[in-house]
Every structure is written in C-alpha cells, then in structure tokens.
Symmetry: C2
Subunit: 218 residues, 2 copies
C-alpha cells in the first residue's frame, strides 16, 4: 500500500542515542575504530559491535580493515546530509542539548560539518556573499561565480551541487556547503591557515584567520 522508499527502518536506526552519538562523531568525515565509537557512545564493546554491524548491513557505514583494527566511516555524504536535516529539524523544534561540553566555545567558532566548514567564520563568508549580491535566494549569481573563480573556487564535474546553504545550529544562520564548502575547507587546511582539533573542532591560528579573512574580504 505504501509507495516509495521505506524510510522507517533507516530512521529507527538513527533514532537510538548510542547510534546517534556514533554517527555524529563520524560527521567529521574521518574513520574511527570500533573501540573509539564505543567510547563516544558510552557503551561497552560488545554492544557497540552489534550496533555497528546493523548500521553496516543497512548501508549507513562503510568499514575498512587495517591490521587488528576496523575503521568505520559514513558510507557517503548523503548520510551526513540526512543527519544535518534532522539537526535542523531538532533545532527548530527546540530539542537542543542544554549540556554544552568544554569544547563548545571552540566549536562555535569553527568546526567541520562532514566535509565543509561551519561555525561563526563560515557564516561570515556566506553573509558576505549575500550582502554583496553574489548570492540570491541561496543561489549563486554569475557575479558570485566569477568572484569565487578569481579566488580559485571553480565548479567541478557537476555530479555534486556546487553551492548549497546549510543552517548552522550554533549561529542560526546559513553557511556554505556543497562542493564549494568542501573546497573552502580544504583550502584552509592546505594553506596551513587552520588545522583539525579534537573532534569536529577546527583551529584557526591568528595568522591563518587573517589570511582567510583577507581572501574573502571580511
């Protein structure tokens, strides 16, 4: 009777606190071992192993074996996209965690959102583009495209949206996602302007922050 993809199973899979913790921990795009995932979820190894097996057969996670470790990562960016959509929803409906951890301030400044930059600095870039008429209704204008091309950000093979906006839960405004967002993050890392901190934190040095701001005219 129902038609279309059957989402209940996958949503139920995401809907367990332990698994949610694992998935969000993997949202930085890196791969973690089973023990590490067990730790972030706050459960024992056997339990974690079971959860992981289920998420793997469901296609949410991809595994890679290296020696006696098993490294798990999200199977694709669409998993992260779905998680972000749920976060957006959770934020609007007010289901935000009150307990903020010690890393929280750093997270608000800059963090990674699967493969692109989020946080105050990322929002500033998106705001700049919007203010200058380079983005209209969350889409790039030709002027914006040219301005970005001057700075070395060009569209790719077209298989992935070049520019997407993504609601930032800490700033409550949008930042840049899509291929462009990924390019901006890797540029910042490649140039040495920033480096990955603990978890999803991105640390901009003072010099790096200045260089980043200069590039985008902030």
């Amino acid at each position: 009777m129902r038609e279309g993809p059957y989402i209940a199973e996958i949503a139920a899979l995401i809907g367990d606190p332990a698994r949610t913790n694992m998935l969000t921990a993997l949202m930085d795009g890196r791969a973690l071992t089973v023990s590490e995932l067990a730790q972030v979820a706050g459960i024992t190894l056997p339990t974690a192993s079971g959860h992981i097996a289920r998420m793997e057969t469901a296609g949410l996670l991809a595994a890679e074996k290296q020696g006696r470790h098993r490294y798990l990562r999200l199977s694709g960016s669409d998993v992260a996209t779905a998680l972000e959509a749920l976060m957006e929803l959770a934020q609007r409906t007010g289901a935000v965690r009150l307990r903020t951890g010690p890393r929280d301030p750093a997270l608000r400044v800059a963090r990674v959102c699967y493969d692109h930059l989020a946080g105050a600095r990322a929002v500033a870039v998106a705001a700049k583009l919007a203010d200058e008429g380079m983005m209209v209704d969350h889409g790039l204008t030709d002027a914006g495209r040219a301005w970005l091309a001057e700075r070395g950000f060009v569209r790719g093979d077209g298989r992935r949206p070049f520019c997407r906006t993504c609601l930032d839960w800490s700033e409550r405004r949008h930042h840049l996602g899509g291929a462009l967002g990924a390019q901006i993050l890797s540029r910042a890392l490649d140039e040495g302007w920033a480096r990955r901190g603990e978890g999803r934190v991105i640390d901009f040095g003072q010099r790096g922050a200045a260089a980043f701001d200069r590039l985008f005219g902030l």
Copy 2:
C-alpha cells in the same frame, strides 16, 4: 558531552512504521484528520491518537481544530526536507519497498513532493534546464534565471532557497524543488493543466500536459 542538536529523539519518532506512514501521507502538504491518519497507518484510532500526540509535542505536526475534527499537517517544510533526505538515503542503500501499489504507475508520471512537483514530467523540466546550460552544478545561471523570469517565475523574499534539486526516487534523477518548484506546481494547478488525484498523485490532462510542455519547451 555531546554537543549540538539532539537528533536521536526525533529520528526515533520518525523511525516507527506507523508514524512513517502518517508522515509520508502528509507530505503532500495537506491536512488530514486523526481517523484518516489511522487508516493510512493501518492502526486503530486510540493508537493513532497516541502517536499523533507524541509527534505534536515534538513539534513535527501542527494541529487545527474544526468542529469535532482535528486536522493535522506537517509543521513546516523542514519536516518534509528531512523525510526526503531519509528517502534519498533509503534509496541508495536499497531499502525500497518491493510491493508497489496500484497507484504506482500514476505516481511515477507526476506526484507532489510536499509542495513541488516530482516524477517523470518534473525530471524532464530539470533536465531541460541542465541541457540548455541554464543550470550548472545544480544551481541556476543568470541565463536560466532570465529564462524563468520570462515565464513568470521570479524569486521571492529570499527567505527560502529559490531553486533546489531533489533526487527523484522513481526516476533516479533530480527534479526542481525550493520556491521555484512550488511555483511550477501551483502554476500547473492554477491554470487547470493538472489537478490533485488520490494521495500524492497529480493528474495531467492531455491538453494540460501539452500546455505544460509548451511553456517549458519540452
């Protein structure tokens, strides 16, 4: 310890088959009564009432009372967005329902996806734009914007993305979403080219289909 929005609760809510059926039934943007929702979910009234109460307090549904009926609708487009993201995921991981109902053929031709058009005819429009260079990397070019403006599709207040692409589960290609997608649907309905059928089905008459194709040069 965890940071950010707490999505497990909301995902668990979506992750029950009965609730999923209700939510997808509401994805056409219309409001249904408690009894109607109970029927599409295949459960009794008391059970449905309980589910609805939970989804309401969680902020997924909005209610409106009229006489002795209670009409429920999705509380916003972000709910539909999250559901679509999950569908996209479910499709890639192969969790598609094998049982296709009798309405299925009609659904594949044209259906409503919360507030915009989906199905073969909608995919054709997106393909046209991409082929003619009016969309690049899932974003509109100025040429595309102008072409659409000639046909009366102009951007709105900027609060909502004008043009978004959305993976079509039946066609496995993208169709147009966002404000533009909504405008296209309402145009087709307003002009009398199509009318809402059972569930999410959209019926294009022969004359209506021709007029629609003419507008987009298909």
